[in-house]
Symmetry: C2
């Protein structure tokens, strides 16, 4: 009898190491991420990890590249789901942050935060790939036909929620999420 592997279709070692690193940062914080810990969590030896990622920096860079691709793709899909017309990008952002379940938003946020903080701590320049993506989002939001400043206000608000969660500053209750969503939606509908 042969067992067919389903669901995670046998994640390769690199992916497992990347996932392990994220897991560790989320569970034990940035200082908890050591090469040895990541290797153990991924079920490989330290030597094996270093075979795939020649240095800690290389590991972090890979983590960040993956995150950047993920965010970028996520936004493209959000844009496609958002009806065309002025404010399309801004509405996609709003949806991205406030029209998904709280659990989903938190999960995305936490994953991003882990990679973000670990990379930033090691070397801020590692964030460059994400910076490029964010610059793209910003460009999209600023040129989608809304009165100037309105789109960026929405983007900044979403970023604020991101930060508030990363650092455990505050978290919106479901009703508050709806209220903020309504408020920002009104902003997006205001005429020039």
């Amino acid at each position: 009898m042969s067992v067919v592997q389903i669901a995670p279709p046998a994640p390769d070692v690199r992916t497992r190491i990347l996932d392990a690193a994220e897991t560790i940062v989320r569970a034990r914080g940035v200082p908890g991420l050591t090469l040895e810990a990541a290797a153990r969590e991924a079920g490989v030896s330290k030597g094996g990890l270093l075979y795939h990622f020649g240095s800690k920096e290389a590991l972090l860079a890979a983590l960040l590249t993956r995150l950047a691709e993920f965010v970028s793709q996520d936004f493209v899909e959000g844009m496609e789901r958002s009806p065309p017309g002025p404010g399309r990008a801004a509405r996609a952002m709003l949806a991205w942050g406030l029209e998904v379940s709280e659990a989903e938003a938190n999960e995305r946020c936490d994953r991003a935060a882990a990679v973000f903080l670990a990379a930033f701590h090691h070397d801020p320049a590692l964030l460059d790939p994400i910076r490029a993506v964010v610059a793209g989002l910003r460009e999209a939001v600023m040129t989608d036909g809304l009165p100037p400043g309105h789109g960026m206000a929405v983007m900044a608000a979403m970023d604020g929620l991101f930060m508030a969660r990363i650092f455990g500053m505050y978290e919106l209750a479901p009703a508050e999420r709806r209220d903020m969503h309504a408020a920002l939606s009104r902003l997006l509908e205001l005429p020039t």
Copy 2:
């Protein structure tokens, strides 16, 4: 002849050490902040530093307490400058972030970020004093008579700008600052 000391009235050693720690984080990042580096920057020996702050954690805690007091006081003053009536707290926040010179906003932001990141990296629980202050701000913004969600949208947007700067994601040009200010002001004037 006796010389009278003016301007900085001989900052005491503790203050100098605290300032030194901030300076180092801003210049060399969180990993650059070691007891030895902080001591050298403050012009004391490592032993001297440890005399005043019994551990690195104690140093960070003191740094954070100082920041929390500063932010809290800053907001109180902002509130007093803001005309009474609905939306007073939210308008104070808006002013706090967007009605000061860019240089001043950046300076405040960078100081806060340095303390923030250093403390968070060592132990997230160290942020508790700031969390308490932020909880207070949030309470003020949510109960100042605006339609639900409007005040929090403004607060989140300001927090987003903070984060964007910390991590070097984006920075608003002067015109963009004005535009965002105008947009959020409109939001605050919207009737229920």
